[in-house]
Amino acid sequence: MAIHERGLVEQERIIKKDRIVIDGVDASGDWNLIILPRVINDYDLNFAKDIINHPQGKTINQCYQCAYCTASCPVHNYWDEKYNPRHFIYLARLGMLDELQKRADVIWRCVSCHKCTHRCPKGVLVEEVLKVIVNQMSKRGLIEEYPSKKFDKFFTESVIEYGRIEDGELLFGWMEKQGYSVMKDPILKKPIPFAGGLPDWLKSLAIKPLKGMNIDFLILNAKHMLIHPRTQNWNRFKQVLERVIREEGIMTH
């Protein structure tokens, strides 16, 4: 275990003493730190099998734990040290689900920047593997619905419905899902961008364009908010898409 990953060991298992004598020999100095052993008796090897059987997760067994992914990861480096792709892969392969569950608050935080996958010297599709791990955890009920999944589902539902997405609907619809009260016009039930209980930054951002931005741009976006852009000949394809996604079962968990 690399020294910078000592945080992965629970604090209560680390014993540090100023002076330590073992069998009459003074072992102070560099040897004053002891990590107590642990017994693992609860693991699930089917977890790794499920990942390998998925086209996205095939490469997980190529991993040799060099931690190039972790060293590259912006979430690990700039946000939270607990987010550690190497460690997640390690835990998933050993099937240590309780340990994975302990990290449920950070494991979804991947921003899909693909530095890990790009730099992996063993050809593991790290980002894809991590997404499969989270999805499998989700299927087994080890992780509650997390913010990014809520958004991903919201986004995908919009794609399935119309074939295309619309930025205004995404932004204001998401704000509504977040619990902000979005004011809507009484006839078409479409959001009014700068009214209601939206956060201040969004209100001021929505008012900004009124001063000095292109009028036709505003009209275009308002039009899109009223009439959602659609893909033609979408219906038949939509049915297939809906069925495939239902069979996959990640959206519904």
Binding site: P55, P74, S112, D152, T156
Partner: protein
């Protein structure tokens, strides 16, 4: 004429038809001025961006396969996408369809069921920046520049997925790992350097701009798919990018992806409200800057579409 050829389908993506209209308009203007043709891919659907792929593998492959199939049916050989998210999604689908035969078989069966032609040849995807670099190149831009961007200091922001990961984008990888996969097809005909992309720097320098030192923030993530769902992380990432640009002396930050652009502009606004120092660099699409250099006016390249008003800075250099 470069190696990509003329037979390209332009896949603008949802964003460019709405909030990122400026990018679409300016890209087509620049292409026209450089003598290149861009035909719209008709009746396309959303690529699923960075979001759908997290909740449905097959759904995302299918959405992209439909677009590929449409491109083939409309007689195109390659797809050009101006958005990092779109080009990534298409390249990702390309990877799974070409390396995993079971994926291709299942996808083709589902396409047929959905009333779309199955894929015979799987078309490749290029980012619009790579396409401009390959088909026009810095020399042509230098030749056609009417109003050089003299003195303008630009931070060239590439974002994550323009060259990453090498499995999908098929760029060279400095880290190695490519020789492990013997079945993996070769590099694309033209692709930018993976860790030190330079196409945008070269194009804008040819148009007279000065690139500021912006590594390694030029490929730092802006929060991407989490910019709405994990705000604190995105805010920190954008702060790092903007402050780095500002402190290296940049006047504007040039983007080549509507998602990065939107994220930068949105969080720039929020950070400025909070009073964070050194974040007031406006974001412009690189095609807007190229358009200005090629003699187009500020209203033609839709500079007033940008939320982070770049006009005052550009006026200082007599460009708008």
């Amino acid at each position: 004429m470069g190696v990509i050829g003329k037979n390209v389908a332009y896949y603008p993506g949802c964003s460019l038809e709405g909030a990122a209209r400026a990018y679409d308009v300016s890209l087509r203007l620049v292409a026209k001025d450089l003598g290149l043709e861009l035909d719209y891919l008709k009746d396309y659907n959303c690529c699923g961006a960075m979001e759908s792929k997290n909740v449905t593998f097959w759904g995302t492959i299918l959405m992209n396969a439909r677009n590929m199939s449409l491109a083939r049916k409309q007689g195109y050989e390659v797809i050009v996408a101006p958005c990092n998210g779109c080009s990534f999604s298409l390249q990702r689908a390309w990877y799974f369809l070409t390396t995993d035969n079971s994926v291709l078989t299942k996808t083709n069966a589902l396409l047929r069921e959905g009333g779309v032609d199955p894929l015979d040849v799987i078309p490749e995807t290029y980012h619009a920046l790579e396409w401009l670099y390959e088909e026009a190149g810095p020399e042509k831009i230098k030749e056609k520049t009417k109003k050089p961007l003299k003195g303008l200091k630009v931070a060239n922001y590439y974002g994550c997925l323009y060259t990453r990961p090498h499995f999908y984008a098929r760029t060279y990888s400095h880290a190695g790992g490519q020789d492990l996969d013997k079945d993996r097809p070769m590099r694309r005909a033209t692709a930018d350097d993976d860790e030190h992309p330079f196409f945008q720097n070269k194009l804008l320098e040819a148009a007279g701009a000065t690139s500021v030192d912006f590594e390694p923030m030029h490929t730092q993530c802006c929060g991407g798919p989490h910019s709405l769902s994990d705000e604190s992380v995105s805010e920190k990432f954008v702060m790092m990018i903007l402050q780095n640009a500002k402190r290296n002396g940049a006047d504007v930050i040039a983007t080549e992806c509507p998602l990065c652009h939107a994220s930068l502009e949105m969080y720039r606004h929020r950070l400025m409200l909070k009073g964070v120092p050194d974040v007031d660099v406006p974001a412009v699409y690189f095609t807007q800057l190229l358009g200005l250099a090629l003699g187009r006016s500020a209203s033609e390249v839709k500079l007033k579409d940008n939320l982070s008003d770049p006009l005052p800075v550009l006026k200082r250099y007599g460009l708008a």
